[in-house]
Symmetry: none
Subunit: 275 residues, 2 copies
DNA sequence: TCAAATATAGAAAATTCATTCCAAATAATG
DNA sequence: CATTATTTGGAATGAATTTTCTATATTTGA
């Protein structure tokens, strides 16, 4: 396994500490500065660092060489990697996962990888959804006299689940599924007091966009479950909930989406009960 | 109070999202890159970013100006401030989550509970499904000349997903959904060389049992996804896969089921590819 | 105290960088 | 189809950055 950013950083700190007592005064001064200001070391230019540490830029270069690097630039990479490492992006984690799943192709290995990916997706969901967003979405759903649920193609299973579950709450719910080619007819039922709950993932189906636009023009409330902020639906929506299910070979597991859907439904049920 | 690095960053993200739809193609491309790679945006030089995003450096400068900055450098400060500000350890992240859970509204607490429950469901799935069961299920699916997918009521979303995904593999697939009251007619198409993939959770719908029985009598292969061994379908099935999604107030999240479904589909795709 | 060695400061040089500008390409308009 | 407006690619520019170099200062050891 390749060395992580944090490890390299800690190793460098150790090295600096070890050498500190045998450094010349100026180098020692820089060593202390470096250990005390790792953020600055990561971001500032040598000139700025020199200014902050009250030394000459050339001293910084000598320092970098003294601890074993070719120059300041390569030393700086270590301080940067540390910050990167602290926050591995969701994409990076999933990419790492995908790397592994290429090795074992057996179905069981797949199940393992996908379930780990789904777990990551759920964790991501917890971390990124903001309480007030959820709150708002539930309010909009509770406020609509009829809830319309939209989801086509890959989003359809989520929409179907939402419609089923909301229906069990004894609320008026309508699944816009485009059955019999009647998408527009279904959409045209949406009125101003209603709420449209739209589920849409990339690539965003044109028909779905059309339905949302129509609902928007009719002044219906719109709650949108989607996979990213760069989404043609987002700007028409009154509430946007972001989910990022791991995608493998073009398929999304929808595990996190389903979890969010369940949350919305149960929260809606409680809200309605309380009234 | 002075604006934190994180706030500024989130504000910038919002702005990018808001403007995305009116950007030119190249600017849109950069917008997506920026949101997907905030780390790179913080550290890399414009030339490197341009290379990564596959655009010209000048386009990056145009982008920075389009979102309201004087140039790339000032925009980059925002991405850097985010990392400066925000270097939580794992423990801190957990604590922050608890904090939000406590002070946050009820729906968010629900989301937390459900996502934890779903995570446990996934772990359970990993632990209980045996490799040879999966192998067998995939073989049966690969062997059938037509795959029929059955799932009614709460199981319907899983079935819909399976049908959609198997269809994308260019295989003949047929979703038995009982549309137009034609459940029996749909079921009567199943022949001996076909495979029925039945999804059924408690309380097992009578109609579903009927369809499986009919398929069984016609000597079709039967793969069953269900929630326990005490299931009327199990004894007719050639392969049984057991999933236990967490249940809350009578609702199942289906997260684990979706994960298993994805696994079956991708494994099937690979199996067919290899032939 | 004096020479030798080492460390430092600061200027200079060589890169690299962000930005600008203009021409080519593309899309919109009449 | 011709014209106009946008958008895009890529070279040019000038500022900034890292690094090297050298004269000066400081320390070391006799």
């Amino acid at each position: 396994m390749t060395k992580s950013g944090l490890e390299a950083y800690e190793q460098l700190c150790d090295e600096i500490s070890r050498l500190h007592h045998e450094f010349s005064p100026r180098l020692g001064q820089i060593a202390e500065f470096a250990l005390a200001n790792p953020n600055a070391m990561a971001f500032e230019t040598v000139a700025q660092l020199a200014d902050l540490a009250d030394v000459q830029p050339s001293s910084f270069v000598r320092f970098a060489k003294a601890v074993g690097y070719e120059g300041c630039s390569s030393m700086q990479q270590v301080f940067r990697a540390r910050l990167m490492d602290h926050q591995p992006s969701y994409d990076e984690r999933i990419r790492a996962l995908r790397q592994r799943d290429l090795e074992g192709a057996a179905p069981f290995a797949l199940l393992n990888d996908f379930s780990v990916a789904a777990t990551e997706g759920l964790a991501h969901l917890r971390e990124t959804v903001r309480p007030e967003q959820l709150e708002r979405a539930v309010s909009l759903l509770a406020g609509g006299s009829i809830v319309y649920v939209l989801g086509l193609r890959r989003s359809f299973p989520v929409a179907a689940y939402l419609a089923y579950a909301i229906g069990k709450l004894q609320r008026s719910v309508n699944l816009i599924d485009g059955i019999g080619g009647m998408l527009e007819e279904q959409a045209s039922c949406i009125k101003a007091r209603d709420t449209l709950l739209a589920v849409s993932f990339r690539p965003y189906a044109d028909e779905a966009i059309g339905v949302v636009r129509e609902a928007h023009e009719r002044n219906a409330s719109i709650v949108c479950i989607t996979d990213g902020p760069l989404n043609p639906l987002a700007r028409m929506a009154d509430s946007v909930l972001e989910v990022r299910d791991a995608e493998v070979e073009g398929f999304r597991a929808l595990s996190a989406s389903m979890c969010l859907a369940l949350t919305l439904v149960v929260a809606l049920g409680r809200r309605v009960e309380d009234l």
